[in-house]
């Protein structure tokens, strides 16, 4: 049996190289994400930093850990999905070989053993190769995290043996489970099928495929519905779940769409013998088409789904910022300069918010960032967010208000917090707090009058300006500029800038999360195309002796592959769309407005890129497969 495995291996190397690669890269990604994730758990703080800078570095580590957690989770999902679909496909491709084994006296058990020992071999080889690849992937991920500013320069994660072992076990385990169901199916192949040239038109939509596909689809729909009533964190997780479950559902059900697409190709592309052949091939090779479309569906669904989710959240945070203020202008300056603003003609209220550098200690945890000094009355007039507890009226004297960022800390009114401001120790009583918002928001609001002047005079200050009713905000803005303020923005501009800022961060996060994972999925697409193409040598040869020249065969293959790629992209977009419906429902619930961000540019790039990659790969594969003289392939029986 082992000899048989080994020699099959030699014979069908494209099939197995593809399988090994899918394991190796999957293992590498999982290993790398786990190593980096583990390293972010122990922040490396460079020496000689101020406490705020240290705090920032520490926060960066927390952010990096979140991003890496997502990356590790996605890498595992992709590894499971891609390895099992690749391995399942390799079994399907060898149907005739396996039937031949049965014909020569192989029992069902032996067939299963053969396939499982093969996948064990491939899994082990792939996992071993995955270890050095993982070190490379780890380097890339670290570089990306440092590049986006989450981790300090000079950060490095050291190689962890346990991560390699865990990733390896996952690799081998996934390879075995991926083949297991396929081997059960393969064991049911009847020996007679070896005698059929074309093989039995195997039913693609088996009962189990239907069941699995429909249940994954139902889960997806359930998550979309659930997200409508969820909070935003829940909806974000749901969006991730929708992308993953939806992708699995779509790839399981994709064979249903293939005939429809074949029909559509006939409508879109002018009729001709070649297109006719491509359409017939599409309909005939449903299993092959589905296998090629699967990784593409996952790639498109995850990439667009996540980009859409993050983008929608960023757009929503901009919208939220706009709605949070009842004002027309936002001016940036120092605290001292801002004091001149209320006196400018046309300014009704100028709520100055000084980002002060003081320390507030909550249960032995010190907070340095997001502490804002305000005048409660001005703040209340210019801001719409209602406190969750207490009232802003009480925010005078030795008091403090908790901001949205501290909401989850559950600091109760009446609690007394120790504050250190400009060398002065204060005891401030909590008099209320704000609810959580989309944006992290401020940590604490402190009455400006309570703090020493030197604490807020030089602090970076954002002043929210309400103009006198009847005055043109533009005119007032010009007047403020003339008074020596360089940065005056209208509220929509200010909100848009914040959304853009958030979006920039999202793009970086998406790059880390989906960058390598996306390349992995793309590799799986190429893999499936190559496997499908090389297995068709004889079919291509038959087409050539029927009268097609080599170029025509290649063109037919390209038309067919393009149609399959379009199926993948469209179904993937469908899944991403479901994710967007989920997140937009949650946003609607949170803010009462529907905000959806569709990543059109990314969509165009992904669609054109993946169709191009699939078309080019299938063209090259077909060209190579048609290299030997056709007659030799048609006449030699293997």
């Amino acid at each position: 049996m082992f000899l048989m495995s080994l020699s099959t291996f030699r014979e069908r190397w494209e099939l197995f190289v593809g399988a090994i690669l899918s394991v190796a890269v999957g293992v590498a990604l999982v290993q790398a994400s786990m190593v980096v994730l583990a390293a972010t758990g122990e922040p490396q703080i460079p020496p000689g930093l101020s406490r705020q800078a240290e705090d920032q570095v520490r926060e960066g580590f927390v952010g990096a850990a979140t991003v890496m957690g997502m990356t590790a989770f996605l890498a595992m999902f992709l590894a499971v999905f891609i390895v099992s679909s690749t391995f399942g496909f390799t079994v399907v491709q060898r149907r005739r070989d396996l039937a031949l084994l049965r014909l020569t006296g192989g029992s069902r058990g032996q067939l299963r053993m053969l396939l499982l020992s093969e996948s064990l071999l491939l899994g082990v080889v792939g996992s071993v190769l995955g270890v050095p690849l993982g070190v490379v992937a780890q380097g890339i991920q670290t570089w990306l995290l440092i590049g986006m500013g989450l981790l300090p320069e000079g950060f490095s994660a050291s190689f962890q043996v346990w991560a390699a072992v865990v990733a390896g076990v996952i690799g081998v385990g996934v390879a075995l489970t991926g083949v297991f169901t396929a081997s059960l199916r393969a064991a049911r192949i009847r020996p007679l099928e070896a005698l059929r040239e074309t093989g039995e038109a195997a039913r693609v939509m088996t009962v189990s495929r239907w069941l699995l596909g429909v249940s994954f689809a139902s889960c997806t729909v359930a998550m979309v519905v659930w997200a409508q009533g969820a909070n935003l964190i829940g909806a974000m997780l749901a969006a991730l779940g929708i992308s993953m479950f939806g992708a699995v559902a779509m790839s399981l059900l994709s064979p249903l769409v293939v005939p429809f697409t074949a029909w559509l190709v006939g409508i879109v592309v002018p009729a001709g013998a070649l297109v006719g052949l491509a359409r017939a091939n599409l309909r005939d090779g449903v299993r092959r088409s589905a296998a090629t479309a699967s990784p593409l569906i996952v790639l498109v669904a995850l990439l667009l789904g996540l980009a859409g989710t993050f983008g929608s959240l960023a757009a929503a945070s901009g919208e939220e910022a706009k709605r949070s203020v009842a004002a027309q202008l936002v001016v940036s300056s120092t605290g001292e300069e801002a004091e001149r603003l209320p006196a400018i003609e046309g300014v009704a209220v100028a709520s100055r918010q000084n980002a002060v550098d003081i320390t507030i200690t909550v249960r032995s945890r010190s907070v340095y960032t997001g502490i804002v000094a305000v005048d409660a009355a001005e703040y209340a007039r210019t801001h719409t967010l209602a406190p969750a507890t207490g009232s802003l009226d009480a925010l005078t004297g030795d008091t403090v208000f908790t901001g949205p960022a501290q909401h989850s800390e559950r600091i109760k009114p009446g609690q007394v917090l120790a504050v250190e401001a400009g060398g002065q120790a204060l005891q401030l009583t909590v008099v209320g707090g704000f609810p959580e918002t989309l944006e992290a928001g401020d940590s604490f609001l402190v009455p400006r009058a309570t703090l020493p002047v030197e604490v807020w005079a030089g602090a970076p200050t954002e002043t929210v300006v309400q103009v006198v009713p009847g005055q043109d905000p533009d005119v007032v803005a010009r007047r403020i500029e003339q008074a020596g303020f360089a940065q005056v923005q209208s509220v929509p501009e200010w909100a848009a800038a914040r959304a853009e800022n958030a979006q920039d961060g999202n793009v970086k996060i998406l790059t880390v999360v989906m960058g390598l994972a996306g390349l992995y999925a793309l590799m799986a697409v190429v893999n499936a195309v190559v496997i499908a193409g090389t297995e068709r040598r004889r079919e291509f040869a038959v087409a050539r002796v029927t009268g097609l020249d080599r170029a025509q065969v290649v063109r037919t293959a390209v038309v067919e592959a393009t149609a399959v790629a379009v199926i993948g992209v469209v179904l993937g977009c469908g899944v991403a769309g479901a994710g967007l419906i989920g997140i937009s429902g949650a946003i609607h619930k949170a803010m009462g407005a529907t905000v959806v961000y569709v990543p059109w540019t990314l969509l165009a790039v992904v669609a054109i890129g993946s169709v191009a990659v699939v078309a080019a790969t299938s063209g090259i594969t077909a060209a190579i497969a048609t290299n030997p003289p056709a007659v030799s392939l048609v006449t030699t029986k293997e």
Partner: protein, 259 residues
């Protein structure tokens, strides 16, 4: 190339005594598709092939030749009727029993040689025995290959062999287990006349000197004439039987059937 000594009847394999049937079909019907609307590929076929005899099955395309062979060999299930193979009723035999029989009781040779492309000639021949878990010595394999005239091709892969050579490897593979019955489906169909003659000579020697039972489907009267008996199929029914056939007699009978 001749059929050498090693392949005489083997005491290990219970070859049915001459005169008893190695293959028997009783009123076999095989429908393709649902019974009400389906097509009967076989329609009440009864056939008996005595042990040690060579039976050829002939008929126009679509007459049910291959279905007959597949049903007789347990590769296909019959819709009704009964099938006996080497004295055993295999009509409703479970897959496990059929697998076991493929290993020890029956051998197959097909028009498309169905060798495993990744294995050498030698490995192909030894493969069924390995599947069965029986040890075959290298010398035994070499002897069988020598028996089909391929002693010097043992290390070649199928694609490095000519069609005739591949078919002889397939015959050697079928014979390594000394099967009670050898089923052959157009064994010379894909061969040139020279290779075809060599393969036929080989089959004839196996029947004459080793008492091998062969059931063969062919459409070539010259090939069928080598057999002990020819049965003619038409539309799934046996319409004639000819003992000790001649090429001319078979050709004329077939021409009438097709006309």
């Amino acid at each position: 190339m001749s059929w050498h000594q090693p392949l005489t009847a083997d005491p290990r394999q219970a070859v049915p005594a001459a005169g008893r049937s190695a293959v028997e079909l009783h009123q076999v019907t095989r429908f393709h598709g649902p019974r009400a609307t389906g097509v009967a590929a076989l329609d009440g076929v009864s056939l008996s092939c005595p042990a040690g005899s060579w039976t050829a099955v002939m008929g126009p395309s679509g007459s049910g030749k291959s279905t007959l062979l597949h049903c007789a060999a347990g590769l296909d299930r019959v819709t009704s009727g009964r099938v006996f193979l080497a004295g055993r009723d295999i009509t409703a035999a479970p897959e496990r029993v059929l697998t076991e029989m493929r290993r020890r009781t029956i051998g197959f040779v097909f028009q498309s040689f169905n060798l495993i492309s990744s294995l050498t000639a030698e490995q192909n021949v030894a493969f069924p025995a390995k599947l069965a878990g029986t040890r075959v010595s290298k010398s035994e394999v070499r002897q069988v290959l020598a028996g089909v005239g391929l002693a010097d091709r043992a290390g070649h892969r199928p694609r490095e062999l000519s069609g005739g050579q591949q078919q002889r490897v397939a015959i050697a593979r079928a014979m390594i287990s000394r099967p009670a019955v050898l089923f052959a489906d157009e064994p010379t169909g894909a061969l040139d006349s020279h290779s075809a003659k060599a393969v036929l000579d080989l089959l004839r020697t196996m029947v004459r000197s080793a008492g091998q039972t062969i059931v063969m489907v062919t459409h070539d009267p010259a090939v069928a004439a080598g057999a002990d008996a020819v049965v003619f199929l038409s539309d799934g029914r046996i319409v004639d039987r000819m003992e000790q056939p001649s090429t001319r007699g078979v050709a004329e009978r077939l021409a009438r059937l097709e006309g």
